[in-house]
Each structure stands twice: as structure tokens, then as C-alpha cells.
């Protein structure tokens, strides 16, 4: 494990030197603090933060991740000349990027959130779900970005592809779901809609947060089905497993390609 940890350390130094990660944290900090300052209503802040989290984190993780991977190409070649396994190099680079990105998010959102709500203690539950969702999405989309970067030699093509993938999960997927719901409106769709949610990490994170925020609306017919499922221990296990699978599969695919890759 020694080289793995060392790689993480170098990654971190590199990132901080690059200042991008600090900008990223600052972005969250300014947004969260600004929302608390100008939006007097706490629940509104939570909603806006939720939208921001679901929008920015996947986009930044996947695009920044692949750009970072491409720019580290020489560093990778250099290290692979040393007695270091490709597996531990890849894993080190992955954890070494996803962790600081997550920390930047947690610090950027968390610090203003805590000093704005600690005296009321409100929104504790939604805050934790928000942080967990954000961190998980960071890990999922960084993994995807690395896999795409390994698969594509050309930088422009790779980065373009990551944007496409993000667009798919963030927008297109939901459009398709909406179309399907209207196409199959004659059928009972409760179970199908749960399955559909599990297939998109952004939707999964969104539903988890919705259950905290829009509970009264969601307790209508469809919402009751969701609440029943995701509120139950089984549902929680399924949701968490789905998110973990969403992390593991791209990492595993990436590792496999990286091990075989001709550098």
C-alpha cells in the first residue's frame, strides 16, 4: 500500500499547487454563504443547494477529472518506469483526486452551513444527506471520467465525451424517463420508476434528498410508494448498494483498461 499512499500525497500537492481545487471549494463557500445571506428562508437555501449539488458536482468531477488525467500523462509514464504496479497507480490517482474534490465540497458547503444554522440546529438531516450525496456523486463521476480518459487517447475527444456523459445523466436520461412514463401511462409504473431511479446516480441522490424536502407532496400516490421503498431498511440497503455499484463498476473497468493499455 505504500506506493498507493505516496501517489495520493503527490496528487494532493499537485492539486493544491494548481489552485483549481481551492477555487472549487471557494465556489461552494460563496454560493452557500450567499444563499444564507440573501435568501432569508432556510428551506429555500436547502433546495437551492440541492439543485447546485446535483448540477455542479457531476459536471466538475467528470470534466475536471478527465482533464486532470490527460495532463498527468507524463507523470503517469514517469511513474510506470518505476517499480510500481499499474493497479496501485490507478487507484492512487483515483482516490487522490476524488478525496480532495469531496473535501473541497464538504468544507465549502459545510462551514457556512454550520455557522449559519448551528444556533437553530435546523436542517440537520437534510444537511447530512446533502453531504453524503455530494461525496458519493464525486466518487462516481470521477471514476467515470478516468475510465473515459483511459479509453480515449485523444484529449479533445475524451473531454467531449465526458461532457456528453454528464449531459446524458443530468438531462437526457430524465427526458427519456418522462417520455417513457407518458408512453406507458396505462400501466402501473411504481416499481418500474424505482428501478429507473436506481439506474442513474444523479436521480438516486435527488430522490434521497427529495424525501427530506418535499415529503408532503411526495406523500401523494407515487410519493407514498417511494417513501415506502426508500424509507424502509431494504430500500436503504438497495439505494446504498446501487450507489456503491455505481462507483465500483467504472473503477473496475478503468483498472482493467489501464492494466492493458499501451502507453
Amino acid at each position: 500500500m505504500k506506493p498507493f499512499l505516496k501517489i495520493i500525497k503527490y496528487q494532493l500537492q499537485d492539486l493544491i499547487r494548481g489552485k483549481w481545487i481551492l477555487l472549487y471549494a471557494l465556489l461552494f463557500f460563496v454560493l452557500t454563504d450567499g444563499l444564507f445571506r440573501f435568501g432569508n428562508d432556510g428551506s429555500k437555501v436547502v433546495l437551492s443547494l440541492m439543485n447546485i449539488t446535483l448540477f455542479i458536482i457531476p459536471l466538475v468531477s467528470i470534466v475536471f477529472g478527465s482533464m486532470f488525467f490527460y495532463s498527468s500523462r507524463e507523470f503517469i509514464e514517469l511513474l510506470l518506469a518505476q517499480p510500481i504496479g499499474r493497479g496501485s497507480l490507478y487507484r492512487g490517482m483515483y482516490v487522490g483526486l476524488a478525496t480532495p474534490l469531496s473535501l473541497a465540497f464538504v468544507a465549502g458547503v459545510g462551514i457556512p452551513f454550520i455557522y449559519n444554522t448551528y444556533h437553530t440546529g435546523a436542517f440537520g438531516g437534510i444537511f447530512i444527506i446533502l453531504l453524503v450525496s455530494g461525496v458519493t456523486l464525486t466518487f462516481v463521476f470521477t471514476a467515470l471520467s478516468y475510465y473515459i480518459s483511459v479509453k480515449n487517447e485523444e484529449r479533445v475527444k475524451g473531454v467531449g465525451l465526458t461532457i456528453l456523459i454528464w449531459l446524458f445523466f443530468a438531462v437526457i436520461y430524465d427526458g427519456i424517463v418522462l417520455a417513457l412514463i407518458f408512453m406507458f401511462s396505462e400501466y402501473p409504473l411504481d416499481k418500474a420508476s424505482i428501478a429507473v431511479t436506481l439506474l442513474n446516480p444523479i436521480d438516486l441522490a435527488r430522490i434521497m434528498m427529495l424525501l427530506m424536502v418535499d415529503v408532503s407532496a411526495l406523500l401523494g400516490y407515487t410519493g407514498a410508494v417511494f417513501k415506502q421503498f426508500f424509507g424502509s431498511p431494504l430500500g436503504l440497503v438497495v439505494a446504498v448498494s446501487a450507489l456503491i455499484i455505481w462507483m465500483i463498476i467504472p473503477v473496475w473497468l478503468g483498472l482493467r483498461s489501464f492494466a492493458k493499455k499501451d502507453l
Binding site: 439543485n51 418522462l178 401523494g220
Partner: protein, 412 residues
């Protein structure tokens, strides 16, 4: 001897005739040990004091105008069979009793206390526990039902009756009662010119308050919390509702306030908070809905296409998932000078009224209305984009449903 006899006759005549009546005491070591024997010998106008103890004497039917006063909460136990007190008298007043276990039945509406044809009656400060129906007023007028505590643990809607049930009544006052765990908290059918205020109804299986065919009634300062389906006002005219609280009515068919075929009524200064649907207007005509607060509901207001000439003004719509939903592309109602927390417009002339009109119906709420499973896409980026596009080029949302003068700050 003769003078004594005359005196006795005179005395008894006065006794019978006097309005104040005699005092009769019931209880252990009192003149009467059973309630039934005391009531048998009581005369119109008497006051019957019932002292501490448990009285399980089956169904007692009273046809005399009496005042019953419980001292130290005497318990009248129905033992789960039939009715407890059935009153068919001109005047009747009952206070301070603890009624328990009137019998569940699928044929008879067994009540703890039933008034049948009573004029000027009172049911005040009693306790009711696990009764099928607690208080039942039929063909009754000018009665007061006040300060009663009604609680039932009966599990389902079919096993429990209504807390306070009024049928064919006039000028009845229902105030300061707490009702919990019944089928309907307060039920009014064919009731006119009555008042319902300062009551609390919570955790009832069906409606906290249920109006049917009841014109010219007023209700205010009531709190309806966490009832199976909220409050329903149906097929009535000239109903006034103000300063009530409708909250935490959650569920598939759950409403803060369900209005069905209501005409010429007013809804002022009520609070609708955290209901699945704050207010449903189904077949409502000429309603004035003013100065209410709708906070954090799933749907603040749903208006069906069969509602028209209703006015929504000076209401606060804050943090609702959907502010207004409708099943029509047309609109025959007026929205004027409400505050909408979703409003993004500006106020250049600083007159407190936004310069850009507000369309409270979003495309997504139209989609959900058509096909409810679409709700899973709530707050997704795709849906936000759709709503944004619809705002600029309305295709599916009712263009006419618009607040031309949205307020910049809260009214209340």
C-alpha cells in the same frame, strides 16, 4: 291534621310546578344508588347530581327536561353495547360526566349521548372515551356542545363513529372541544346557522371536520391536525371559514381543506401548512379566498375546471412544491395581489407590486396532473429546463391563470 294535609298538597304542587325544581342526588350512600331509579322519579326541571362511581345501566332513555351534573367525574359505561344516554326532551343539560364504551354497530349509530329533538340543550365539559359515536344531535336546535374531551382508540374507520355528529340541526354552537381518534371529528349534515369554533380535531381516521348540505354555517379558530383526509366541506352555501389551522394532513387523498360544490363562501386568514394538498376547489363558485397562508404544502391549491368566479387575493404562498395546479387550460378565477415565494420578478417603481405577472401553474405540475408517476422527476434539471422554456413560450399551462400584480413581500 287537615292543615298538615293542605300544607303537604300545597308543597307538592309547588314542587311540581316550580321551574327551579328539586335537587336529586345519586351515588353510594345517597338517596338513589342507580341513575335509572333517580331519573324515573325525577320531574321536569329537576337537577340530578351524580356523584363519583361507575354506572353501567345499559341504555337510559330520558324524556324529561333535566339538568344532569356529574360530581367527581362519575363514569357511565356502555360496556360496548348500544347507546348510553338517549335524550328526547325539550330542554336538557349535561355536565361533568365520563362516558365510556358505547357499542360499535353497523346498523345503529350508537352514541354516548344522543339528543333527539331537544331544544336549548347543553353538553358541556364531559369526557368521552372509546365510544362509537360520542355526541349525536338529531333534529335539535339552539344547543351548545362545549369543552368536551373526546378520545377513541378504535382502530379503523368502520369501527369508529364520529366525535360530534349533527344531523338536521339549527343554531347549534360547537366550541372548545378536543376530538381525537374518531372517524370524523365533527360531522354536520343538514345543519343550518350554526357555529363551530376553538375546537381541535386530530388523528381522526377520516375528516377532522365534515360538512354536508349545511348552509349558512361559520367556523373559526379551529385546528385540524394530522387527520386521515383533512377537512371536507361539501354541497353547502354561505359557509364562512376563518382563522383555522389545517396542518399535516398527509396521504394519497389527503387535503387540508377539500371543497366540493360550495357556493358563495369565504375563506379568510386560515393557515395551511404541510398538507399533501392544501386546498382543493372542486365545483366551487364565487368563493372569496383572502389573507390565507399556504406554507410548505405539496400542492397549495388545486382548482378543478368546474370552479369559477373565485377570487384569490392577498394570500401568501410560501415554499410549496406546487403553488397552483389545475386540470384545465382555461381559467375563470381571479388571482390578484398574492405573495408567491417562487416569484422572480422585480419592482422598479417600488410600489410593492411586482412589474412582471406571475404564472403560478408550472408545466411540470400540468404533466404530473396528467400522469402522476412523472412526480419522480421533481426538481430534476430536465424538469427545471422544461419549466423555464414553458415560462417563455406557454404551450400547455393556462395562460390566463396569472397574478398580474404579485406582491413583493409577505402579506401576513
Amino acid at each position: 291534621m287537615r292543615t298538615v294535609f293542605t300544607a303537604l298538597v300545597l308543597f307538592s304542587l309547588i314542587g311540581v310546578g316550580s321551574v327551579s325544581g328539586r335537587d336529586i342526588h345519586v351515588g353510594e350512600d345517597r338517596a338513589y344508588s342507580t341513575l335509572r331509579s333517580a331519573l324515573d322519579s325525577a320531574q321536569d326541571g329537576d337537577t340530578v347530581y351524580v356523584h363519583e362511581g361507575v354506572f353501567a345501566e345499559g341504555n337510559i332513555v330520558i324524556e324529561k327536561s333535566l339538568t344532569l351534573i356529574g360530581k367527581g367525574w362519575p363514569i357511565l359505561d356502555g360496556k360496548g353495547e348500544g347507546e348510553i344516554l338517549t335524550v328526547k326532551a325539550g330542554f336538557f343539560s349535561i355536565e361533568g360526566f365520563d362516558f365510556r364504551n358505547s357499542g360499535t354497530s353497523f346498523i345503529h349509530d350508537n352514541a354516548a349521548v344522543k339528543f333527539d329533538g331537544v331544544r336549548k340543550g347543553q353538553i358541556i365539559r364531559n369526557r368521552f372515551k372509546n365510544n362509537y359515536f360520542a355526541i349525536y344531535l338529531a333534529n335539535t336546535s339552539q344547543c351548545v356542545v362545549a369543552g368536551n374531551e373526546i378520545i377513541s382508540n378504535l382502530e379503523t374507520e368502520t369501527l369508529s363513529g364520529n366525535g360530534i355528529h349533527l344531523w338536521y340541526c339549527k343554531q347549534v354552537t360547537v366550541q372548545d372541544n378536543n376530538i381525537e381518534g374518531q372517524r370524523d371529528g365533527i360531522y354536520l349534515e343538514f345543519v343550518e346557522d350554526s357555529e363551530v369554533f376553538n375546537n381541535t380535531a386530530k388523528l381522526n381516521h377520516r375528516y377532522g371536520l365534515h360538512f354536508m348540505f349545511s348552509d349558512r354555517n361559520r367556523y373559526w379558530n379551529n385546528t385540524f391536525t394530522n387527520n386521515g383526509a383533512g377537512v371536507a366541506v361539501m354541497y353547502s352555501r354561505n359557509v364562512e371559514m376563518w382563522a383555522n389551522t389545517f396542518e399535516y394532513n398527509w396521504g394519497d387523498a389527503s387535503y387540508g381543506l377539500l371543497l366540493k360544490d360550495i357556493y358563495d363562501s369565504s375563506i379568510h386568514q386560515n393557515l395551511f401548512e404541510q398538507n399533501t394538498i392544501g386546498m382543493l376547489n372542486d365545483g366551487c363558485v364565487r368563493m372569496e379566498i383572502k389573507n390565507n397562508r399556504f406554507i410548505n404544502n405539496g400542492w397549495a391549491v388545486k382548482i378543478m375546471a368546474n370552479s369559477n368566479d373565485n377570487t384569490f387575493s392577498f394570500n401568501d404562498f410560501i415554499g410549496n412544491t406546487f403553488d397552483v395546479a389545475t386540470n384545465s387550460r382555461h381559467n375563470f378565477n381571479l388571482f390578484d395581489r398574492n405573495y408567491w415565494s417562487k416569484y422572480r420578478g422585480y419592482d422598479l417603481d417600488k410600489n410593492g407590486v411586482g412589474d412582471v405577472p406571475f404564472h403560478p401553474v408550472k408545466l411540470f405540475s400540468v404533466l404530473v396532473e396528467k400522469n402522476e408517476p412523472a412526480l419522480i422527476l421533481l426538481r430534476s434539471l430536465f424538469v427545471n429546463l422544461l419549466d423555464l422554456a414553458e415560462e417563455y413560450i406557454p404551450l400547455m399551462t393556462p395562460e390566463m391563470l396569472v397574478d398580474q400584480k404579485p406582491l413583493m413581500s409577505r402579506v401576513q
